[in-house]
């Protein structure tokens, strides 16, 4: 996946606002990456090889994703700005369904795993958004927790 491909697929990504930070890897997805993992896919399913926190309903809804990340110590907020010592994640939805999560780095930029493809860092959380079939839709939920370590 080239930068040009990414810029076509994501209407708000430009040559100035993102960097590719990893090789392609299908062994983890954006939800796992937002949770700080890179060896499995997170999704609310009982499919073997996928993970979902025990006790959290297996339904792909915003509320269920909120519960899952509450188990990691996150709580809901409305503020996307960078606050030193605070780690934030943003959940995107399209047509009411979760599509993506991005995580804020300790320098204020954001990082996203793009499906089975690469990780990128991007200037604003919304850089990977977009409607009309391109991008991950709109940010529906923001959560924060105290930054525990350098999890970039």
């Amino acid at each position: 996946m080239s930068r040009a491909w990414l810029e076509r697929e994501f209407p708000f990504l430009t040559h100035r606002n993102f960097d590719i930070t990893s090789p392609k890897d299908g062994n983890y997805n954006c939800i796992a990456f937002a949770a700080g993992e890179s060896d499995r896919n997170w999704w609310p399913t009982d499919l073997g090889g996928y993970y979902w926190p025990p006790g959290v309903p297996m339904e792909p809804t915003v509320e269920v994703f909120k519960v899952a990340f509450e188990q990691l110590g996150y709580q809901e907020t409305t503020d996307l700005t960078h606050v030193p010592g605070v780690e934030k994640v943003a959940l995107f939805v399209k047509h009411g369904k979760p599509t993506h999560m991005a995580r804020q780095l300790d320098d204020g930029r954001w990082t996203s795993k793009l499906g089975t493809e690469v990780d990128i860092s991007h200037r604003e959380a919304s850089d990977v958004g977009g409607e009309a079939g391109r991008g991950y839709g709109e940010i529906e939920l923001i959560m924060k927790r105290r930054r525990m370590s350098d999890s970039s």
């Binding site: 392609k24 299908g26 073997g48 793009l114 499906g115 089975t116 493809e117």
Partner: protein, 183 residues
């Protein structure tokens, strides 16, 4: 016009006065349900057979030295029905997989990934495509777990804790079931 009695994957006999190289087949005249599948060879070009759906040819087909504008008639479905069917399925699988992988590469939403028409069609091809799915693991295994479970009716990676574990479990299952020569 030439008639080949060999299966498609065996290639064609040479044509007098023909150019060398592979022929790109651009049009299929008769449906696969017919015992006589008729294809039209256009300008000779190097490349693999593309652009078909239910056509019964394998990915390694080499149609040699077909003249420009020549018509090639291939007898299928009688002498080598299994071979023709297998090659047809393999080619169809590859086409569907490539389209699907490109379309879902940036997605994490499992429901959207597995509900794509191409993926659902692959599942409907049945256990004949299981070895092909394993071969596709090199481009990313987890997105194939749903198809394997759907086709096998069994989740070999039910207890996996990581993607690597799940991949290994499916390969072990594939070897045990005879879909892989080794895990």
């Amino acid at each position: 016009m030439a008639i080949a009695d060999r299966p498609a994957s065996a290639g064609f006999p040479s044509q007098q006065g023909a150019s060398s190289g592979l022929a790109k087949i651009s049009e299929l005249v008769a449906p696969w349900s017919s015992p006589l599948a008729e294809v039209r060879g256009q300008q000779p070009a190097v490349g693999k057979l593309i652009k078909h759906d239910w056509l019964a040819y394998g990915p390694d087909i080499q149609i040699e030295q077909v003249r420009p504008e020549a018509m090639v008639i291939v007898q299928l479905g009688s002498e080598f029905p299994d071979l023709a069917s297998r090659d047809n399925t393999a080619q169809l699988f590859l086409e569907l997989a490539e389209v699907w992988e490109n379309e879902v590469a940036h997605l994490s939403t499992l429901e959207e990934i597995v509900q794509r028409p191409e993926y659902q069609r692959i599942i409907r091809l049945g256990d004949m495509v299981i070895p092909l799915i394993f071969d596709r693991f090199k481009y990313g295994a987890p997105k194939w777990f749903w198809a394997l479970r759907s086709i096998a009716g069994y989740d070999a990676a039910r207890d996996a804790r990581t993607s690597a574990e799940a991949t290994a479990m499916w390969k072990d299952w594939g070897a045990q079931q005879g879909y892989l020569t080794s895990s």
